[in-house]
Assembly symmetry: C2
Homo-oligomer: 490 residues x 2
């Protein structure tokens, strides 16, 4: 592993890309815009999946699996949906290759599909087509289903984790008898996402609604959580959509209610993706590498022995066995790195790069003194502590690190969220001190588009806890009743 990455002050974008590669999280695949998620990166995703899946089940959801391929005709049934996704989808047209007789493998034109298949960019259409068979009466509702899957969107500009042609995600698709129940579900899942972002990822988020321009294609209302990265750009970390009866109407999904009247079913969908790994990296990491919140770190504690003779290593190993047992009982993951192919200094650098929250170094003098050196990744501080009670101390420290990482991100966001009342100030801040800009807007899609064209800033959301306040739109001067949150975004 080559040492050092470019500084994030110098080139944030290069810093991110190098970090992803050097921390062994992922790499670009030979297929345009696709990535290989390497074992270390994937183990973060597994932790995220496991926590989120538990949260979904706690709230009454079950998992299912729907086909990867969607017939083109289905895809076209919901008008705004197809408009939103048609421009970026992978199309399967044939089902066979053949040898052309000259030793070349070519597409077999005799195996052309009658109807082209779309590789799912999201599954509303195939799922609502299926729900038609599942729902007759109010007794069949609600349907609370989630799917863990891969999806494909043919993006022109890609970036590992943040925007890739193929990505992994979960998509919840629920069906309800009333709009109130569907809206409550939409909000519940937004809160689940916010809880996960804040209490597991250590990333504070703003809960809000999207403006019409930024809504999901086919939704009546899109709720989102928005996070602020260390370069002052926003990142949408999760969305939850109230789809009204749009998909039920497109796929003719009706139910008979308690008073025997037929109505279309009400829908929601909600999703988070491997993009969260990008958010995790960008929110906390530094020039020395990843900084991972303990609750999602694949390795929480690493132990590096420092020794010259085998006998010293044997002593240390014996001690580490006991520590490992104690930590495992607490549910804390520990790695003992006793490789003799690497020096301690190289190991320190490696785990720093990989964001392991706590490092324990033990030498012979420590063994004599009954101490270890304990180093924190987040604060880069180290101290000599007693071996006695170390497991309890580690447990407490991990908790402290989790809190500290969140607090640091929270303070950063607070320092980079500004109320702005003039367009000049708005533009100046976007260049000089980017972050969330809270500003009045006249509520029209046209003005939002104008501001986007002129500044590359978009409305990230209309915060849910927004206070109503008289004001004038920063761009048009027209009256406004509330501030909305602008930012340049990933």
């Amino acid at each position: 592993m080559s040492k050092g990455i470019v500084s994030k002050e110098e080139d944030y974008s290069a810093w991110y890309n190098e970090l992803v590669i050097k921390a062994d999280l992922a790499e670009y695949a030979p297929v345009k815009g696709c990535m290989v998620i390497k074992p270390y990166g994937y183990s973060i995703w597994e932790k995220m999946q496991s926590v989120l899946d538990g949260m979904f089940k706690e709230t009454g959801h079950v998992n299912a699996y729907f086909p990867l391929f969607i017939p083109k005709s289905f895809f076209s049934k919901e008008a705004s949906h197809v408009d939103g996704f048609a421009k970026e989808c992978a199309v399967v047209t044939h089902y066979r290759l053949k040898n052309d007789g000259n030793g070349n493998i070519v597409v077999d034109e005799d195996a052309k599909l009658e109807e082209e298949l779309i590789v799912r960019p999201t599954s509303e259409t195939i799922i609502w087509n299926t729900y038609r068979g599942w729902i007759q009466s109010y007794r069949d509702l609600p349907i609370l289903v989630n799917q863990w899957a891969n999806v494909v969107r043919w993006e022109m500009r890609t970036r590992m984790f943040l925007r890739t042609t193929e990505f992994l995600w979960q998509e919840g698709h629920t069906a309800h008898a009333t709009p109130e129940e569907a809206i409550a579900e939409t909000e519940q899942m937004l809160n689940v996402y916010a809880d996960f972002a804040e209490n597991w990822m250590g990333v504070p988020v703003v809960r809000g609604k999207k403006s019409a321009n930024e809504r999901f294609a086919g939704a009546l209302e899109t709720y989102c959580i928005e996070a602020l990265m260390q370069d002052g750009k926003a990142l949408q970390a999760g969305t939850s959509h109230f789809l009204g009866q749009n998909f039920a109407k497109a796929f003719d999904v009706k139910f008979t209610n308690k008073v025997n009247v037929q109505d279309f079913v009400w829908a929601t969908s909600w999703g988070v993706s491997t993009r969260l790994i990008g958010a995790l990296i960008m929110a906390h990491s530094d020039d020395a590498g990843l900084v991972l919140p303990p609750k999602l770190a694949p390795i929480q504690v690493v132990v590096v022995p420092i020794y010259k003779h085998q006998e010293e290593l044997d002593n240390i190993t014996e001690y580490v066995k006991g520590l490992t047992k104690e930590l495992k009982a607490k549910g804390i993951s520990i790695k003992f790195d006793n490789r003799d192919t690497h020096r301690p200094g190289a190991k320190f650098a490696e785990y720093e790069l990989k964001g392991v929250p706590l490092r324990v170094a033990i030498g012979s003098r420590d063994m004599t003194n009954g101490t270890v050196e304990l180093a924190r990744r987040d604060t880069k501080t180290k101290e000599t502590v007693n071996q006695e009670g170390l497991a309890d101390l580690i447990e407490a420290k991990l908790e402290e690190i989790q809190q500290n990482i969140y607090q640091k991100a929270f303070d950063f966001r607070a320092a980079n969220t500004t109320e702005v009342d003039t367009y000049d100030e708005f533009k100046r801040l976007l260049d000089e001190k980017p972050g969330f800009l809270s500003a009045h807007w006249d509520g029209t899609p046209e003005t939002e588009q104008l501001i986007k064209d002129e500044t590359k800033a978009t409305i990230r959301c209309i915060p849910l806890d927004n206070k109503q306040e008289e004001g004038v739109c920063i761009r048009t001067g027209k009256p406004s009743t509330q501030r909305v949150l602008f930012a340049r975004a990933y």
Copy 2:
């Protein structure tokens, strides 16, 4: 839910299809040969995944994720591999749809890919292309990676779970410095699969090697586990391949060994899929529905209250709360079905159909007597037992059911495995008493093909524990040194 399914004696194939639908496991999707895995079916897959994933990690493997799409040129690099898969693969040729101006959504011919992409039927090629960048020295070996993913094979004849165009699976892909180590890995994973099949699924399997005709496209040796279904047909339940240096050579993956000499890397791959759910159904179920082994049953115990008045239900509910707590502490899943929309009899039929291993029915008289009615799904027996000590009894019963299900399948297989010495007897048994037929074969692919053409029976495997025995081939009369296992298969 309509009552009753066709009898398996009458029409095994129809019985299977009806059971899959009526037990709410899966249904056909509108895309040819694809299925929707419904929540109940998917929850069985989740249990399987969780156990297998734990076994893979125990044996030192880590998970990663590789792209869904494989460039056509990669796919062609290993000659026998492309021969094996070219005839049944989904090909992506375009990356955009458009509106043709008449309101039709059509493929945008301006968005044709320069090189077509294949939707992975298996990932050896894309993974070995990636490993080239990961491996330089023996220090980088072994690589022990697994992937949980969806794959697509454009099968002409499909059957839910057993053979579908898209299916879910795991594929392990390992890289080693020596052939011995790779073969040991291949065998280790075969044993993991056999352990899972027998001790979790309750399905006895024969461990063996495939003949050349049945080998994986690109493998030097394919190991497999073969199970016998209740209709006497065999089902390949998992495979583990020793790939030699074929893929390393195709993708130029070399390493420097300890004495500084370059060599190609040795490979294995191994996989099981949602097909295992098909095996689980076919191995144990009966005309009343699914019979699930307790270790993989999504619901292990269901409690059905029998009452007329709310007060009685309240009493029963109070008791069930305590029982639930006790069972949860033992890691046993319990469902209390207190729906007032269904009668107890309908509930009994539903859980019978869904294969819940134990049913507890509690009425008012039971509450007075301190008893419950305990019914076993596997033996269809019921008995009145004391409430006192019920949790312990349930735990013991579940263990007993797990054993019994395995034993029943084991006995069935023993009764339907026959040594055959003449071709007439071979053909007669295939029609009259199908099962595993242990017979001598001259060892040539031609004879194997001949037997397949004439009888539809294939060599399922050459059992690993085969004894050497002089004999003559049932078809050609040529000399043979061992018996191999024939059967008609799924």
